[in-house]
């Protein structure tokens, strides 16, 4: 683990993805590797990097970029890569209006350390130095060999609430494209809860994933329930994601909600009702008709919360005029929405 650290002379936070590596140059030098594999932590996929490295070596590449085909109409949302039939990259287009190819960069790179090192040093003064924006174009301009490695499996970026919600919902499918239950290629995690889940006689569960140490007394449909969650009697959870140790009170009703860890939802509270009005504070973040409840929040009994809303911190009945938080509103008691 390499967080930013205070050093002699210039000390700063990591200002960009490549800058983060530049600040750990000495650490990298201590290994003096042949190749460096650069990945993001907010993507969901299974990939054998060894195959990609073999491809990198066999193409005598300086830089390999993993790409995947995306539908033509969605191509303008991605960084698009144009390559010839041998995989050699000819052009980059960042979120182009008229994409020349349907291959999108997945943010997975293999560099020859020599090339990366040289680029990092050359661009050390570049503000917010980023792999996609600065390092890759620099290598390209230097005439290095950049190749595209085509990947054809499931890949999902979960960098927005909408895609995060969608990716979770896709896991519920009977045989999901991204299958967590295969013997081969397991996904490992830290797991701090051991007890099994208890499903009571009055519970109703369908199309859902439920974690360890949960107790379900209510109704759960199309949802992901994290470990240690309690869904009390009469509560209804639909199309929602509930994270660790949250308690859903009796007769509460949740639709399209993302509820973070350690939240208490009061008795009879209704979340995710009303019209789909854009959020007033951050319409781009709080969208998709989702109601988002931040970690450690407390929602009092009997209130109603609309769509595209965000609630954080310990809220009380007086925070809800007429017992309601209308669609598009934000109630930020923890002061984190900004």
């Amino acid at each position: 683990m390499l967080p930013p650290y205070e050093k002699v002379g210039k000390t700063e936070w990591y200002t960009g993805t490549a800058n983060a590596i530049y600040q750990n140059l000495a650490y990298m030098e201590s290994f003096n590797p042949e190749y460096v594999l650069i990945l993001s932590g907010d993507h969901i996929y299974k990939m054998d990097y060894e195959v990609m490295l073999d491809y990198h070596k066999s193409h005598n590449a300086d830089v390999s970029i993993a790409v995947m085909p995306v539908p033509e109409e969605e191509a303008s949302r991605f960084g698009i890569i144009v390559a010839d039939e041998k995989g050699r990259i000819k052009e980059f287009q960042e979120k182009p209006e008229h994409p020349k190819s349907n291959l999108a960069s997945m943010g997975i790179y293999i560099f020859n350390w020599k090339s990366l090192r040289e680029a990092l040093i050359a661009l050390s003064e570049q503000p917010n130095c980023d792999f996609g924006k600065h390092i890759i174009p620099y290598c390209f301009d230097q005439g290095q060999t950049l190749v595209a490695y085509e990947y054809n499996g499931y890949w999902k970026d979960v960098g927005t609430l909408g895609s995060y919600w969608e990716a979770n919902m896709e896991l519920i499918d009977i045989i999901p494209e991204f299958n967590l239950y295969e013997e081969f290629w397991k996904i490992y995690t830290t797991n701090d809860m051991i007890p099994p889940q208890y499903i009571s006689a009055e519970a109703k569960i369908t199309r859902s994933l439920i974690g360890d140490a949960t107790e379900i007394y209510g109704e759960v449909t199309n949802s992901i329930i994290g470990s240690g969650v309690v869904v009390k009697k009469g509560a209804v959870v639909r199309d929602s994601i509930i994270m660790q140790n949250t308690v859903i009170g009796e007769n509460a009703v949740l639709d399209r909600a993302i509820v973070a860890e350690n939240v208490e939802i009061g008795e009879g509270t209704v979340i995710g009702i009303g019209e789909d009005v854009p959020n007033k504070v951050k319409p781009k973040v709080y969208s998709f008709g989702l109601a988002v409840i931040g970690e450690n929040a407390v929602i009092p009994a009997g209130v109603r919360i609309g769509k595209n809303t965000a609630v954080t911190g310990e809220t009380a009945p007086e925070d809800y005029p007429n017992g309601e938080l209308a669609s598009g509103e934000t109630l930020d008691k923890a002061g984190v929405v900004g």
Partner: protein
Amino acid sequence: MRAVGIILAGGNSYRMRELSNKRAIAAMPIAGSYRSIDFALSSMSNSHIQKVAVLTQYNSRSLNEHLNSSKWWDFGRKQGGLFVFPPMQTPDNSFWYRGTADAICQNLNWLKDCHEPYVVIAGGDCVYKLDFNKVLEYHIAKKADVTVVCRELPEDEDATRFGIVKMNEDSRIEQFEEKPMAANSRTISCGIYVVRRRQLIELIEKSGQEARYDFVKDVLIRYKDVKRIYGYKINTYWSNIASVESYYKTNMDFLKPEVRDYFFRQYPDVYSKIDDLPPAKYNPGCEVKNSLVSSGSIINGYVENSIIFKDVFIGENCSVKNSIVLNGAYLGDNVHLENCIVESRDTIRPNSTYIGENEIKIVTETSERYTL
């Protein structure tokens, strides 16, 4: 804690029927996510015992797999830690463990090298939580030579498969009978003992020289009139799982809210080996009522009053009632189970029906999984 722990986990019991064919009793899966030995190990860890030896023999591989790392119970440490001792051939010994006392006798050097003044001895086949510090305090206060943890057995349980004790008003054990034909008391030994380490070494060495190999018969019962053997009564949850009926009942006890609350929610926790499994999956058409389900399982059918262990697959139109389905079992479509225990990693063909009529039925069907 001024004690080391010894867990006697080597035994077998015909009372487990087919369930002990492939595993040690201490490795029996319990309550969806645990193994029987977890309860003794966790109690020792939570009592801050820092050095524990597990003596294994019968079907020890199953147990070794579970004890693959000492970190699960917080015994991963430089000093002390978790030791697993199967029987070992040496220049002076080529026997298996001939009994519980012999098992300790064959590892006497380990015990002699310890510096802790006391020893806690427990079995691996009981479900409980116990603070051994309290037992040790009692042991010292009573100036006892051996303290035996005891408990009153409920009226409906058969006492004759336990050690039966009778205490005087000072709690000193005056009568002790092992698995008698007829029990004359409802107080039973829980198989948990506290004894001073040097005292234990002396007793075990003596027994070894006299070719006596059983800790209860040849040490506790034989010495009860010359040594101060005391009973420490507990009234918290305790259950021995070493018969199919009690194993079934103990698992079903976890469907009671007070038992779940005691083991799953109240301090201290019970630890177990952790597998990286995905959450349990409930597909359309499934119906689950009053049951425990563990991670990695996929459920398509009907489940009621049952314990579903890890990585279980239940096909469409199945019905599982009052049953225990052990780790990794695969139930094809239209399987009907009632009062059954399905052996782990079994593959049950579609359209099978198993019903336990007068006793719990143990289902062991190892059909080829991928040629169904």
